[in-house]
């Protein structure tokens, strides 16, 4: 498969997954904000704003929607993600299914003239849910309508790598919020924050089924990081990446090394002692290590699959009017 195509499919997977996570984080915090204690000084939008490198000041829900939903430039903007996935889909029309293309193009067209007022008119939750469902359906269509070959695998690696990075980012948001509040386990704010973390990963219901309704920080950590049977856990994401890579990798040394890196990461996740991390107060350091591991996989993918193994020609940047070669 051409590297450009592989990278493009990987990009579509990442964009769609990213849009869904951003919208879910906004939704969960929208609900929390409605229910929060008016005495509480905590600004939950601040942590989100920092996690996504947002420039808005002061952070408010309105400002974050402008930047993380409506903006066309911001790397985490839902609209940018969907437009970029759609453009990718158009260029890679021969590699994705007709169903996926129609689905992608449909949601793209529905966001053309979007404004915050329209989101309010539709209802924030309804809008958020629509985007979330679109993303779920897109991945569902990919699994049900594509041949499960290289194209499907690169799309999948993109989805799970973005998911892994997002888990780290969500953990970081929650850590910050918790750090801003007085440390006292079992306080309502604490319970709500851990619950929000689960909800941000669509994991609250599965968590209750796997354990029970009691929100215990160590169990939550274990659930979102180590439970490989939970599709939105870090362990599951890395396992899926590892499996896809196992099929794709050739004799190429860099590719084999990447497989080994993913394998090692999985082992490290298995032996994690969440209780100990929380007790020793090393959550911040730990989250940053996880984040670093995921970023390393992303960089290694770029090197081993998306650029050629021998020195490449200089990057070809489309000039203005590039492609406007006179044709007969």
């Amino acid at each position: 498969m051409l590297s450009r195509i592989a990278r493009g499919l990987y990009g579509i997977g990442r964009d769609v997954e990213r849009a869904q996570n951003v919208i879910r984080i906004l939704e969960v915090n929208h609900k929390m904000n409605l229910e929060r204690d008016p005495e509480d000084e905590l600004n939950i939008w601040l942590a989100i704003s920092e996690a996504f490198g947002s420039q808005v000041d002061p952070p408010s829900e309105f400002a974050l929607y402008q930047e993380l939903v409506l903006d066309f430039e911001h790397a985490y903007s839902v609209r940018r993600c969907i437009r970029s996935a759609r453009d990718g889909g158009r260029a890679m029309r021969d590699y994705i299914s007709e169903e996926m293309w129609l689905h992608l193009n449909g949601v793209f067209l529905s966001l053309t003239d979007l404004s915050f007022e329209q989101i309010l008119a539709e209802g924030r939750s309804e809008f958020n849910r629509r985007i979330e469902t679109f993303c779920d359906a897109f991945h569902g269509l990919a699994d049900d309508t594509m041949i499960q070959g290289s194209a499907w695998r690169f799309l999948r690696i993109g989805k799970f790598l973005e998911r892994a990075l997002m888990i780290c980012r969500i953990l970081e948001i929650k850590r910050k919020v918790l750090a801003l509040a007085p440390q006292e386990e079992g306080r309502p704010i604490d319970v709500h924050q851990w619950q929000a973390l689960l909800r941000s990963l669509s994991g609250y219901e599965p968590y209750r089924r796997a354990y029970d309704a009691r929100i215990k920080p160590a169990r939550v950590m274990e659930f979102v990081l180590q439970r490989s049977d939970f599709p939105r856990s870090l362990a599951h994401s890395i396992l899926q990446i590892r499996q896809a890579l196992g099929t794709l990798a050739s004799e190429n040394a860099a590719q084999l090394e990447l497989c080994a890196t993913a394998e090692l990461f999985l082992e490290q996740l298995k032996v994690l002692d969440a209780r100990e991390v929380l007790r020793s107060g090393s959550l911040e350091a730990y989250v940053s290590v996880l984040h670093k591991r995921c970023s390393e996989i992303a960089q290694s993918l770029e090197r081993s699959f998306f650029v050629s193994s021998r020195p490449a020609s200089p990057a070809i940047v489309p000039a203005p009017h590039a492609g406007l070669v006179p044709q007969q």
Binding site: M1, L2, S3, R4, A6, R90, A91, R93, D94, S150, F154, L248, S250, N252, F305, F306, V307, S308, S309, R310, P311, A312, S313, P314, A315, I316, V317, P318, A319, A322, G323, L324, V325, P326, Q327, Q328
Partner: protein
């Protein structure tokens, strides 16, 4: 009734109705069918055909439109019919012309006997922007320069086919030929049962066979090079590569290492043996051609010159597309094949010659003025349709750079009944041309796809049929011998 309202234009050849006012015998079943359908029926068929094109994304991008709007290339539901005899003669003429032109190119980039014998003025060749001086002496694989060509032909007032342009660089439109046929057979299935028509859907196979025949090895890696998704013909590039089962690549996917061309794949570099490139010479290699171009693959021409790569079409073939060179093609045919040209061509005035220039300046209102290096209908001036200011500007341009222009008499382009839509659907005479596509393989094996792309100028009285200038197309039927069995 549709047919009763239809009147061919006085003094033009009409593909449907003969000079006696009756449908030509090959068209009789078609005409009867159209009459039965009636204008409303035809309009509904037309809408269904256009919807089908849009939904499938069979679109092209218009350059002049800054937003890069995607438009469909409208297909008119009235097909054009060519008889077996008409086609056989046309095909023979095309093959003759292409063979002579290919020999000419081999000679021009080889011993240059044609220049030494004074058949062609040397300055015309060396001053042509499409002549690649650095390729003189470079052997061309299997002596094939023009793997793919799309010759533009018109029919004069007697119905005689004349060559208008040779298009030996990167002619496009063949995907519309195939798609038009698919759509027509879907929307007018009953009509097809009344004719026996040569198929056109084997073109990708024909092209693949041609490309394989010039490859250096038995199992060559072939790729199609596109400028990218914003190119007007991207649909075609993607269509042909998918149909041939070969990779569609962009400049950024390719890299030259040690004079060999590779594609960058997820399992490393993979060698490319044959590149069917759909970009102009100037954008192939920024080292060899245009250093300001960010398109193209640095070093590609080195790989080509070392014989490690087949380029289709071969660089430098565009020298024939120079509109001044066109005037010499009948001589080229006689020189190389020692035969009289089977196909006529349009009388051409070379502004570089003072006698011709004076005539052009004096009679511009009756002529079509063309830049020698233009294509796609850009920069063309139809004297009879031009304003006083446009004519004055054109005269000044000719005086300033006479060698850049040629002029031809305004051609009496043949017409075909064409459905003119809302609010009152009816058939009206519109001007048409024809672009048959030919594939040139090793050992002078030339295959011509039966029929070709018929383009139609949808605006009343317009003689410009280019898709970029508001033209449409028609499905073009070549009948089997005795293929009308109404």
């Amino acid at each position: 009734m549709t047919s009763e309202r239809y009147r061919p234009l006085e003094g033009f050849y009409d593909g449907m109705i003969g000079s006696d006012g009756l449908p030509r015998s090959c068209c009789a079943p078609l005409w009867e069918h159209l009459t039965t359908l009636g204008p409303q029926g035809l309009a509904s068929v037309q809408r269904s055909a256009e919807l089908s094109l849009l939904n499938q994304g069979i679109t092209f991008t218009v350059y002049a439109d800054a937003r890069g709007t995607e438009k469909i290339f409208p297909v008119d539901v009235v097909p054009r019919v060519l008889t077996f005899e008409e086609w056989t003669r046309l095909e023979a003429g095309l093959k003759q012309r292409l063979e002579a032109l290919n020999h000419f190119l081999c000679d021009l980039y080889g011993d240059q006997k044609v220049l030494k014998d004074g058949v062609i003025p040397t300055d015309l060749v060396v001053n042509s922007p499409h002549f690649c001086r650095e390729l003189v002496g470079t052997p061309v694989p299997e002596n094939v320069f023009i793997h793919v060509s799309g010759t533009d032909l018109i029919q004069d007032e007697h119905g005689e086919f004349l060559v208008l342009e040779d298009n030996l660089r990167v002619p496009s439109g063949v995907s519309y030929v195939i798609e038009n046929r698919i759509i027509m057979s879907r929307v007018l299935p009953d009509l097809f049962s009344r004719y026996r028509i040569f198929r056109v859907d084997h073109y990708p196979q024909m092209l693949l066979d041609g490309l394989r025949s010039v490859a250096p090895c038995d199992d060559p890696e072939i790729a199609v090079l596109t400028p990218g998704i914003y190119n007007s013909a991207y649909f075609e590039h993607s269509f042909l590569s998918a149909q041939m089962g070969v990779r569609l690549v962009e400049g950024g996917d390719l890299v030259v290492d040690d004079d060999v061309l590779y594609m960058k794949t997820t399992s490393g570099l993979q060698r490319v043996d044959v590149l069917y490139r759909r970009v102009d010479d100037a954008f192939l290699d920024p080292i060899a051609f245009r250093s300001d171009s960010l398109l193209g693959v640095p070093g590609l021409m080195h790989a080509y010159r070392r014989g490690n790569l087949v380029l289709a079409n071969a660089p430098g073939a565009g020298v024939v597309d120079d509109k001044a060179m066109y005037a010499y093609i009948p001589r080229i045919i006689r020189y190389y094949l020692d035969q009289e040209p089977l196909l006529g061509q349009v009388n051409t005035y070379l502004c570089r010659e003072s006698k011709d220039r004076d005539f052009v300046l004096a009679h511009l209102e009756e002529l079509v003025l063309k830049p020698t290096d233009g294509s796609g209908g850009y920069g063309l001036l139809v004297g009879s349709h031009a304003t006083r200011d446009e004519l004055a500007a054109a005269r000044a341009a000719v005086r300033a750079a006479p060698h850049r222009f040629i002029a031809q008499p305004i051609q009496k382009l043949a017409t075909m009944p064409t459905l003119i839509g809302d609010p009152d659907p009816h058939l009206a005479a519109r001007h048409i041309d024809l672009r048959p596509f030919a594939v040139y393989g090793a050992e002078d094996q030339i295959s011509v796809l039966p029929g070709g792309l018929t383009r139609v100028a949808l605006r009343e009285g317009s003689l410009v049929v280019n898709s970029s200038q508001g033209g449409g197309s028609k499905d073009t039927w070549v009948l089997h011998d005795g293929g009308e069995h109404a």
